[in-house]
Symmetry: D2
Subunit: 223 residues, 4 copies
């Protein structure tokens, strides 16, 4: 449609400081240099489990809303990745941190968890598949950017958060994020108009800020 950047890169650039505040949040830097208090990471881990349950619902909604079979199958991959793979990894990681599996689902959701996940789900119900994909993307694609950034740091000597960094900087997750980016660009190619762009940017920016809040919740041990 134009010679400019594809949709995701354009959103990311226009999100500006809000994107940086998320990607470079104190929580993230603390994982990188090992200074993040363990209690903060533990709180984050627990809430992230509850977060994944809602994100699985968002991918189920994406299957429901897909206009064609190919898109249904692609979104089913996302759904399976969460329910069949990521959550098991999470349960294992939580186990290493001494959090029992059967405790996880019964935890109360923190405000930041509610705010972000329900915002995504409603954006999907209110709009179309592109709205949903854009609102999901700060999480899906942002985590790959964060993982890669942290993996590139000189070793800090502290390996506490190594498993997390390895997971999100690993080839498998990086490819998953790349494919989410391609899908947003593809959907943008199909149905982006300039008149619609500001509303998509609003969704993207709000989701990005709610992701930053999620880090902050970990830091603050907020419920």
């Amino acid at each position: 449609m134009s010679d400019g950047p594809m949709l995701f890169d354009r959103l990311r650039a226009d999100c500006g400081q809000d994107w940086t505040d998320y990607i470079d949040h104190a929580f993230v830097r603390g994982m990188g240099d090992g200074s993040l208090p363990r209690a903060s990471f533990e709180h984050y881990l627990k809430q992230d489990y509850l977060f994944l349950i809602q994100f699985a619902r968002a991918y189920a909604l994406a299957v429901f809303k897909s206009p064609a079979l190919a898109e249904m199958r692609a979104n089913l991959q996302g759904l399976k990745a969460i329910l069949d793979v990521e959550m098991d990894l999470h349960v294992r990681l939580c186990g290493e941190w001494g959090i029992a599996a059967d405790e996880l689902e019964r935890l109360p959701e923190a405000r930041a968890t509610v705010a972000y996940t329900r915002f995504v789900l409603d954006a999907g119900q209110r709009g179309d598949l592109l709205d949903l994909a854009v609102t999901l993307s700060p999480c899906v694609i942002g985590y790959a950017e964060i993982g890669a950034k942290l993996a590139a740091l000189p070793a800090s000597g502290d390996s506490t958060y190594r498993v997390w960094i390895d997971e999100y900087s690993g080839a498998e997750y990086q490819e998953l994020a790349e494919s989410a980016k391609r899908e947003i660009d593809r959907l943008g190619g199909l149905s982006l108009t300039e008149a619609r762009y500001p509303r998509l940017l609003d969704l993207f920016r709000q989701a990005t800020k709610l992701e930053a809040d999620f880090w902050q919740m970990g830091l603050d041990l907020a419920d």
Copy 2:
């Protein structure tokens, strides 16, 4: 976006024979020349009441999906028009045909009623507000075209269907249809791309065919 016709006129033209089959259906011609069996009209009237209940739900969904307050208010007008005005007119018209008000809601929905209404509702849930508005439009705008066409016929001497024709050819309904048309054109101006058009045309065509089926159901007294 282009010098061609606005969205609704383009959809109507591209729908071609399917549009004509609906607008010029034997049921419609029978209302025009008075040859339509009274039992067919009565069956149609009853099902149209059940149809309106579902259409009210579709307008409620449009309020829910509206991206901004102005659109919410506009769709609320549509919802109120159905629940506060059209259904009362319907109850009165049914009364004149000897159909008791409390009988109406308990009637079983005919297949054609189920097919059309649930198709519209699902198109709205699956897509965005433009998908929903396009899928609603063969009914909302088509009835105005049919009303105007029948009102322009030389008087047939038979006044059985005069009330129906007067309602849909009247200034109030014509203006309501005009404003629905403007809204589709406006939404099209905001978010139509050429890549998306074929899918919108599919929705429009399917809805148009399901409207023609609704006439046929009346003619056949089909349940």
Copy 3:
């Protein structure tokens, strides 16, 4: 809650003749004795492919609506069964009948396909997970009953419809249907009240009639 039958058996019994009309439809009997015209089966096969796409969306909706993780995973199994297994079987079966895979998704949906699938999807959006499961059940569980019934018939000498009968009478599908029945009974145990029952029966009956219409569409080669 009572000593009476569990929810599914109760719905099935109260559905009465409408259930029999579906289970014992002429299309079904024609598969059993080999008298069903091949063109009817071919028409059915094609529409059933389009039907499965919408049913996959219904299972995705069930994942979205599930109140807890265990139910999300169970409904994901249903979704995967359709998208990863049943549709491939279907493509292979269609191939044996000379219907090319890439032709399938582009076929227009018949009225009966639209009516049934969109009714299910809307029942799910309008109500809760129990409403959705009940509305899906005439298909999921009825096919197992039909498969078992046909498999128990003395061999007719005609093996045209053997693959279909084997699939739905086979242990794998029978177990899938049993587990769907257990799930409805379990959901009923959690949230059935007598005041709610009539509405559930309405959903079940309407879905059963729309399933019978689907057979009739095959018989009539209706579009």
Copy 4:
């Protein structure tokens, strides 16, 4: 179903301290004795306007989900009350506080606004009409309780928040809240089971806490 309290009173009682924390929040007490900083009230007023837009969407969803015409009409009353009456009152009240009408819709939503409203909307999409009504009720009915409580206080000599107190303690709003309570009790009578109750209480408690957060946002001038 039992001799115990009707559903709303039962939920309110079981919510315990969380209910008190909301009803008796420092923001509320500050309106009562006039000690609430004006900047806090102003911030609250602005966010409450954005809140009402989402609450109107929730009532539209209630119309969509209503199983029968009577419930659709009742929920339409709620929708009209917000879009046709409350928002105009709000614009007027904001005007008195020097907040221009056209500024309101463009304000960014605070986290607390996003969290509460999207939680309600998702609860409605995920469950049935009772889930939605229960999740809406801490706002609708709680405001009447707060209004009545503040109106019963001895005059503080400070009339800054008198208009707000008069509105929610007034006969019109009190009746609206009473009728919302009756509707929840009625829906409970139709479809409450003991097995379902804990999930409803979870929804009610979470909504109550998110309402308290909304007061806190005002107090903290939080974005």
